[in-house]
Amino acid sequence: MPSSHDWINKPLGVVEAMFAQSNSNPEWEAKVLEYFKGQLKEKESHSWVPSLNDVPLHYLKPNSLVKFRCLVQDMFDPEFYMGVYETVDPSTKANVLRCGKYKDVTECGVDLNSRNTVTAERQTFYCVPIPGESPWAKEISFLSAARVVPSTSYVPSRQKRSYEEDDDDMDTQPQKQREPHTETPQIQPHGNGDSKRQETEAPSSQTTTPSDCSSHLDLNFPLPGERGPACLVKVYEGLDSFKLNDTLEIYGILSVNPVLTVLGEENMETPEEQRAHDPPASLVPRLHMLYARPLQHNNPLLPSAPTEDQSAFVSSFLVEMASVRAELLAYLTHVLLGDGLAAEYLLLHLISDVYTRRDVLPLGKFTLNLSGCPLNSYTERLYQIVQQLVPCSYRLSMSLHTMNSMRLVPKKDYVANRLVSGALQLARNTSLFLDETQLEQGQLDSSGVRNITALGNLISWQKVDYDFSYHQMEFPCNINVLVTSEGRSLLPSDCQVPLQPQVTPPNMEEYLTTIHMAQFTSQINKFRVYLSLARTLDYSISDEVTKAVEDDFVDMRKDDPQSVTAEDLHRMLVVARLLSLSLGQTTLSRDGWMRAKHIDMLRRSRTEQQKSLNGNEP
């Protein structure tokens, strides 16, 4: 541990010192950024910075450096602030130049008429914790952060019941009423006794000041039942490089000055707008960004920065990739009631990723429709297992009521001037688990139809049309959609696999729990690393194999032109890609292609079989 943590505890001091040295030479701003970037580059130094995700806000020192793993949920209008201003000391009448960057409030005695004032521009992003982050991901990052928290007095204790938790418990009742969809992940514990209880920031209802009681503050999380701090991030540099729904790890200066809330000016904004843009700092802290790192993934088990240790990590893991794959496949086969083919496809689905787009066509998406799922909460169990494997996931139970009432597509609220989030505002590579077995007969109303259309668009084009009331705006996304259904899904999909259970356990719950319990945490962790890593590998096809694929396609068409279409080739190419990557191979081999063709044949024969079985398929 370094002796001086000044740059973490008092980053503003560093900034001010640099400003003072600069003699208003504008280069100082770049120097500040470089300094912090350099500090953070040092080994492990980023783990010294406390994380807003893990440490409750009231344990964090104001004006200290903190980090926040988040999703950009909304981008507010740019604002002008006093970059440099002059203060007049009332006693000595001496003018002092001061720096207003990375601060919300000025020092006292601002000379508003000073000619040395420099106006600068910054933008505010509304950031929320990554939606649907799996409990295990939160917990692991929490533990790693807990190892070194030098700048706070907070010592996370997992066993002791602190008084906050008591408060939390008392508060669960109103919270449940407020959010009827609350889906607290009730994972059967695997080791740590009270893992499900996340020690996050106190729920909003508790912290709101009495004046706010009448109108509850909505923190605008994309998914219902989410908790955690939302944050207003002030961004100074590179505004154009950030996009909505980016996942970032932001290092910045925490500002919770209570003055912010008191300083309400009488202006033209509606109360709604004011509440959305200037929420109490105790609830939505401000973060002045010094450095932001775009996150490729939020798996805490993987080194996140593309550094040397990452490539070392990757190459070391590549060796055991095949064995891990076999174990994972066996595990998934058990979970899918002994259906090996479905397990294979599920594995491919879990590592799929939209790796590029050609004009409107997203390449690499692999939506899986698992049909023929047994009823009675099997799908729910299946989701819990998926959730244990991927860092981000969400289960959307497609019951008639949810489809009619839930807001999937984000919508601009012009009164509050903010983007009201919807369940489809998700981070990249989130696993969206659509449970169609919950759908019953009945009528969809217009919002239900819109929701279904939005899901269809998401699957076909990997985009969501956000509702801006006067027009729509298209936001590309990268979401892995898994549809479980009884028959064929009503939603489009890239590939449908009818489940053929080999075993019929008398007690499904017990069966699945036993499978789950049989896995060691270390084993599960390996799976988690495997899934995240396979996705990031590069991939190419050699000319030779290209030729082989072409020949193969022509041959297949020769026999029966109806049997293989361009669509099929599209799918087989994706399957071949995923299959190679799942084995840790970065180029397509002939064998890989043959295998892809083989399992696709198996799958197709299965669907055809089912088609003739049902007889009523279109």
Binding site: E265, R358, D359, I541, V554, R557
Partner: protein
Amino acid sequence: MSSPTSTPGRRKRNRDDIPATPKSTVSPPSQRRRGQDSSNGDLPAMPTSPATDIASPAVHDTSLFSSPKAPSHHLNALREVDMSSPLMYGTPSSRVEGTPRSGVGGTPARQRPDLGSIRKAPQVDLHSEPPSADGAVASEQALGQKLVIWGTDVNVGTCKEKFQRFLQRFIDPTSNEDENAGLDLNEPLYMQKLEEISVVGEPVLNVNCSHVQSFDADLYRQLISYPQEVIPTFDMAVNELFFERFPDSILEHQIQVRPYNALKTRNMRSLNPEDIDQMITISGMVIRTSQLIPEMQEAFFQCQVCAFSTRVEVDRGRIAEPAVCRNCNTTHSLALIHNRSAFSDKQMIKVQESPDDMPAGQTPHTTIVYAHNDLVDKVQPGDRINITGIYRAVPMRENPRQSNVKSVYKTHIDVIHFRKTDEKRLHGLDEDSDQKLFTEERVQILKELASKPDVYDRLSSALAPSIYEHEDIKKGILLQLFGGTRKDFSQTGRGNFRAEVNILLCGDPGTSKSQLLQYVFNLVPRGQYTSGKGSSAVGLTAYVMKDPETKQLVLQTGALVLSDNGICCIDEFDKMSDSTRSVLHEVMEQQTLSIAKAGIICQLNARTSVLAAANPVESQWNPKKTTIENIQLPHTLLSRFDLIFLMLDPQDEAYDRRLAHHLVALYYQSEEQIEEEFLDMAVLKDYIAYARTYINPRLNEEASQALIEAYVDMRKIGSGRGMVSAYPRQLESLIRLAEAHAKVRFSDKVETIDVEEAKRLQREALKQSATDPRTGFVDISILTTGMSATARKRKEEVAQALKKMIQSKGKTPAMKYQQLFDDLRGQSEAAITKDMFEEALRALADEDYLTVTGKTVRLL
């Protein structure tokens, strides 16, 4: 805040000739100016020659924001300075001649809250050393030198003179703005406008900044940089000129100049701190308007003790309540009398940047705009507008109770001029609403591209590169994107000729039709994408809705109207209900939409190209059937499509190989390779936008001859076999396609090569869609009447054969249906299907020869 010009100006006048202006003394309280009261109040106390005092306010005015900052104790001094300044409406001449109701002096000046106040703006000598903190002095000896308004380089006298010269001389013979309709373009434009003002009595003069720029670039620069000083000067200049020319006209208030179209047009995103206090024009969409806000301009106080009254003007949004009555020296005896205070109207408007201006993946920005006085309630939420105004940033107010303040400025725009951009779309031509400005370099790149001989092929291959082959279809869509030349024949009674090309794609499912549609929808700025399955007639056209807030009936436009001047992509065209489809008839030929519902009767423009995709009824295309039979669409609708393409799975080996190669390449080629290979989508977008805006090709002599020949040839093909193989509609679409092709080449003339390509494309499309599957000939009547000529002929033959057979049977009034069918089958050489038999029966029934009831056929 009070009008910058009125306060000092009127004060001066009042003092000089209060007796001569009876109007001002009897004017209602709201119009009274503080000058009247204060003239007997504080005036005597004022220093008379305060030139040396100027320096002190100057020190305070050096901040970035030139909004009023001068502390009030300096005001007295400033007023004296202003008296000698030309910054007053009451110029010496008008003051002398001023009869109460005529001339500048008689017409009340209207406050301009949109400009803020320039009361504090003193003039300084340009040649004296620049003012510094220690107080440079613009002393009296400088009076002979060039005076400029403090903080600017504006000299009021020259500025005024220049503007008057501009008004008197500016001529724009090429003007095509609709506002100038009815004006003689070879006469000074703005003098005619002044005349209009004198007739109409609306004291507002809109001035196009680009005119000012072309007339005097320096004046324009000053206008942009110092609007709050220059515009009052313009006001002054125009009023002098006006009342000189029309001394008898009576206006409600003095003329206000409203500049618009500042070339510093920016989108909202590019506004930055440097634009503060400058005049800008931005475009955007109104998303919210506030209620009317009465803003106090001047407070009226009355002493409760001695009834002495005084007025206090708003200073930086605050009213300083006088603590002591000057008359009776009682402290805290003054009370605000609301009814006698002066208020002005104000409205807050939220504007959001238009979706076209935004980079992908970000959310639109919004800006607050304040409209004042008669600009209030000029716009509604949903309007697309261009706003010209002054960009402001207001620092947080100092709160005496707090030691530190939020370091954020509130920004807004004080609007000077609104211009609705979508209003004109309802009235027709809108070339200038698409004010997409191309930079010189961009135009150069585009022209370079256009000069390449293979530009047509390049562009078509750049279109949807992920979709394999279908070259002709892509070419067709490319021509659709460019469109024909818009022609107006309304004088000859024909109305507008359709310039838009409509295309129908039909073919097997899974042949990437939807993908092509999605691509086009993403490419064009005003594209709409709907699916036939999910859209209703109202969704396509327009519907009337009751606004939940105002209870007003509002016309909500549907996809077709929204894609006016764009492309409406309709997927699953065949799944559309008949009633919905019938709406398209009007749109696809007349290009309008008539609506009559809920008391709203109107005709909207829907000059949209339709790009539709349809699947065959039997899910697989049946090559043995005609297009109509395959997709089951009414021929009336089909004939409105210029090009109908089949997208079929060709099922031959070479094609398969190329397809496979293309797809595999798609999956592993790197980003750079792709970019090298194909034109950037952005270039394509700009290319199309440029051609659509600037290129209007006309037919040249040769081309028209070629077209005539082509048409005659097409008619000839059929006439030999007793078929009509071409209709005028085909000729029209041929012209459109030729024009579009000329646009692709950036050519102003339609030449023979354009006609050749149009002919080729049309022939290709016809070959695909209008080939009679029985004979193998192209038969246009398949598309125009829904039945090929041979089919019609055969139908007649069968009917005749049946008739003959029945007649040969002699007198049998009733026959069994099945037996008759069998007999006919036995008799005929060709195979007779049940359909054909039924058709023949129907034909005979139409002739009143027989009737069919259930299973029996009776003769009549």
